[in-house]
Symmetry: C2
Subunit: 137 residues, 2 copies
């Protein structure tokens, strides 16, 4: 399941993607438009900025805007940024790999092989969902 943070991030990106080119959106606009608690959204937007999905303009008349094409922002990336690994166990993860602590005998745990299959399919599916694909609903 997605965390609220990830869900809000997607909705915020969606909001930004729906604005006119060159429009700068204030946090409060996005919060109201997408029904997200404003102070919580502030943190999320900073995370999205650190992740190079959006950029900001500070000071009066400042706000946020997309710096990555809506065709290139995928669900997989947002999941990774806010909720971490897409795989079901760390030992089956590409970006968040960790060996299982409780698999004593074999170097690969008994579940790993099956979970790698799941990860590949899920990842492929999640890479197919872009902000653009969500906009034109």
């Amino acid at each position: 399941m997605l965390s609220h943070k990830a869900k809000y991030a997607l909705k915020a990106l969606l909001y930004l993607a729906e604005q006119d080119e060159n429009h700068i959106s204030r946090t409060i606009e996005i919060a109201d438009g997408a029904n997200i608690p404003k102070k919580f959204l502030e943190q999320i937007l900073l995370d999205l900025k650190r992740g190079r999905f959006v950029s900001s303009k500070q000071g009066k008349f400042g706000g946020y805007y997309l710096i990555k094409s809506k065709n290139e922002i995928t669900l997989a990336e947002i999941h990774r940024l806010f909720d971490g690994a897409i795989a079901l166990l760390p030992c089956a993860s590409l970006n968040f790999y960790e060996p299982c602590s409780d698999c004593k005998t074999e170097s690969e745990c008994s579940l790993r092989h099956g979970l790698l299959l799941i990860r590949d399919k899920t990842l492929k599916a999640m890479e197919g969902i872009t902000i653009a694909s969500l906009v034109k609903k």
Copy 2:
């Protein structure tokens, strides 16, 4: 990601599936064999019993055994039993459906459509992973 409970459940089922037909496994056997904390495993086995995956014999010489074919126990089922919905949001879930609280205007939230696609693919993949498919590694 899978919870430890779900992971341990899979490993315990795997252990049971590897035993001879009609063999009854004590909790401590399974715990040692699959490297799972025994008291934690007790709870998990009870959950698996309530879920009709295993049954038990009480008293001396008692223990646990599979009552569902290892070909019919899927990752999807175990995920649902221990970790709940497979979908990324409740509004995209079949078995754990709940409407989004923060989607005010439309009855369907902007993310739902995309997440339904993910759920269908992930679910299909997870239904393809059975205990039997994990045993013959």
